[in-house]
Subunit: 159 residues, 2 copies
DNA sequence: CCGCCAAGGTTGTCGCGACAAGAGACGTAC
DNA sequence: GTACGTCTCTTGTCGCGACAACCTTGGCGG
């Protein structure tokens, strides 16, 4: 039985709405990609991050970090993507413990084909609904939250 | 091959951060509740919504709406909660198709015990990190997004 | 009444995410 | 050179969420 600081009405309202968006948004992203490209949102992110990196290669650990994922989760997903021919695993030359994930040409084609529809969904459901000022506010708020959520601050390295 | 309006650098940065938070936040909420109260975040929300309603009763459909869920998902969760003694199903007097979910005393005790820890987590990871102004901004942004995400606008009925 | 469709819930199946356990490889201390 | 701890990744198991199929009841037109 310790002291609890409950939320004020304003805080509560903001939280309930935020909570709702956090609950609903992933479903929207997933179903669009699933429907149009037979990809999970997470699978898409993996392919996208690989396509943005030099030589289309990233170490599993680095890939896990940029996708806000854990290694076990990533490993499973890469296995699936590998069996579909979008990614191939290659031993890392310098470190025999490490594995490199490499985007195949087929995988690259896949993500290139999926990107427009995904960007469109992001616009329709988020960006285009907000003013430039609100986008800036959103960025500031999320940057603050990430300092708590992302211990390694991987995401502070941004373009 | 149609026209694509890519995101501007500012928009992209905001989106990547928002995406990261949407990915990471649910895990934090789930693991705290799981660790301290052996509850899923969604289970907690179900119990909480019931505890806030008159007579601790809500129809399944209404409960699904206020928890941003689908009926199948809710039905499964209520079954689990029922087997643990936190909720009981009762036929709705007025409509023999409908089912009422009723929070038991045990369930009420459970949610009351879990609430402080949960509120604390929400404060630590979200509310207390933001200024009052940012909380207001967050509320405005999320309200806008919900108009798209929540077709029935169930959540616009707020305290 | 009676045939039809919509509304309200439940159940079954499948796939993904979380977690724990394990197998190699690297570094380092002695 | 060898023993220990750490890093890197994989694998197996379990539980939840999405989706589809199904069943019952209610409303409504003829």
């Amino acid at each position: 039985m310790y002291e609890v600081r409950w939320l004020t009405p304003d805080q509560l309202r903001a939280w309930i709405r935020f909570e709702a968006v956090v609950e609903l948004l992933p479903t929207v992203l997933d179903s669009q990609l699933q429907r149009d490209s037979a990809l999970t949102h997470f699978e898409y992110v993996v392919l996208a991050k690989l396509s943005e990196s030099p030589d289309q290669v990233l170490r599993m650990t680095a890939l896990a970090a940029t996708t806000n994922s854990t290694l076990p989760r990533l490993s499973h997903v890469v296995s699936r993507l590998e069996s579909r021919g979008f990614v191939e695993r290659m031993p890392c030359p310098g470190d025999r413990r490490a594995t490199n994930a490499h985007l195949t040409d087929e995988g690259r084609a896949k993500v290139v084909a999926a990107a427009p529809g995904h960007v469109n969904t992001v616009r329709e459901h988020v960006i285009d609904l907000l003013s430039d000022e609100q986008v800036e506010q959103l960025d500031g708020i999320m940057a603050t939250l990430l300092q708590r959520l992302d211990p390694t601050n991987t995401l502070r390295i941004l373009p």
